[in-house]
């Protein structure tokens, strides 16, 4: 897969994590603890997904297998 596409996939994954993390904060600010906790849990899953994509991008960037 081209490097630019791997980067885009990594960026999209990070944006998703960031969005979920901020949504978790927003729910907490509203006082909706249960939604905040659920979003926080999903945000952590999204972070793991981002990490996998980042490593794929990073490996391609440095040329390592």
């Amino acid at each position: 897969m081209p490097l630019a596409q791997l980067k885009l996939l990594a960026e999209q994954a990070f944006d998703l994590h960031d969005h979920l993390y901020n949504a978790s904060m927003t729910a907490a600010i509203r006082g909706d603890r249960s939604t905040s906790d659920r979003l926080h849990f999903v945000a952590k899953k999204a972070l793991s997904r981002y990490e996998r994509r980042y490593h794929a991008y990073s490996r391609a960037k440095t040329g390592s297998s």
Partner: protein, 343 residues
């Protein structure tokens, strides 16, 4: 038995010097240090991130830290420390004006060094969690602006040797002029925008602190030597830049103890309203380094959020400070902050 944080009478001092009563060190420390629950569990962290050598050092340090408070201390020596400390302060008050007229400033040895019982200072505990994470607990006295008799506290610091942090002080009563290198949020934003333009891999997380701002660059792994030119470029507090480049210079069983690195206070200063660090904005690339990002989230953001930012993740005092700085930021950052914090 009364051990108060004030000068005992001479007769009381003599009585305790003669009778040789002992107390656990912990009871003496509690007279001048506010006990608190710590945010970081170094043993659990080292199990997760450390290697066998660092795990051994961390476990031994934790044992030492837990046991030292139970060591018995001579009450007479503790009283003598208190007596000398206040005597030193009284002497300072008398002779300082005379010395000042001669252009001499000093601090009395009696005031600063009386430590027969270990009462003056709780020893710092250094935890080398892993090559990437160091952590310490260090006693800080109540300091400038505190009320008489106000207790200090043990403050927690993380040191991430490969994740750059920047600290900026704004002008105010707690900072010397040379440390206040920025005026407001607008200055910090401009410095960060220039930095991210020149370093496209950088991903900056910016925080409002009671004394100014701090930021982590979680976009790229850099040690202090690599980052050195950026301290000046970013007009980071010169004392912070210097401290970052300084290590304790000690190893235990081949493990570095508090080496040069980016140190960050994660708990409150004593005797102040202190939210420590309120996350406010991010800048730069959308591909942060996962290791740095996780370390900052787990060891900095989450502990501070749990302890100081209320359940909503926002400190009202931090938001009040942010509002003051808001007009100095660019229109786009203002919009972002207004939307995020419902300002």
């Amino acid at each position: 038995m009364r051990i108060a944080g004030q000068r005992p009478g001479v007769l009381e001092l003599l009585k305790h010097l003669v009778d040789g009563t002992e107390l656990p060190q912990r009871e003496i420390w509690e007279t001048f240090a506010q006990p608190r629950n710590y945010l970081i569990d170094p043993v659990a962290l080292s199990q997760r991130y450390g290697n066998p050598a660092s795990q051994r050092v961390v476990a031994n340090t934790a044992d030492w830290e837990a046991g030292r408070g139970e060591q018995m201390v001579d009450v007479g020596a503790a009283f003598l420390d208190l007596y000398l400390r206040d005597l030193g302060a009284a002497l300072d008050a008398r002779i300082d004006p005379v010395l000042a007229r001669l252009g001499i400033t000093h601090q009395s040895d009696l005031a600063s060094k009386a430590n027969l019982s270990g009462l003056r200072k709780i020893p710092t505990a250094y935890y080398p969690i892993s090559d990437d994470i160091h952590y310490k607990r260090q006693y800080k006295p109540a300091g400038m602006g505190a009320n008489q008799g106000e207790r200090g506290t043990v403050v927690e610091f993380i040191n991430l040797p490969n994740t750059p942090m920047m600290d900026w002080d704004t002008p105010g009563p707690y900072h010397a002029d040379r440390n206040a290198t920025v005026r407001h949020l607008g200055d910090v934003e401009e410095l960060i925008e220039n930095y991210t333009a020149n370093n496209p891999d950088s991903h900056i997380q910016l925080y409002q602190t009671p004394g100014g701002f701090r930021a982590w660059d979680v976009g790229q792994r850099m040690n202090v030597s690599d980052f050195k030119p950026h301290f000046e470029e970013l007009k980071v507090d010169p004392d912070y830049a210097l401290i970052s480049q300084t290590g304790l210079g000690r190893t235990v069983n081949g493990v570095d103890i508090d080496p040069p690195g980016f140190r960050s206070r994660i708990s409150h200063k004593p005797a102040r309203t202190d939210w420590v660090a309120q996350p406010i904005a991010t800048f730069g690339a959308r591909t942060p380094d996962p290791t740095s990002y996780r370390l900052v989230q787990e060891l900095h953001d989450e502990p501070i959020r749990r302890a100081y930012l209320t359940q909503s993740g926002v400190s009202p005092a931090a938001i009040a400070a942010l509002k003051e700085h808001l007009p100095t930021a660019s229109q786009s950052l203002q919009q972002q902050l207004i939307s995020r914090f419902a300002l």
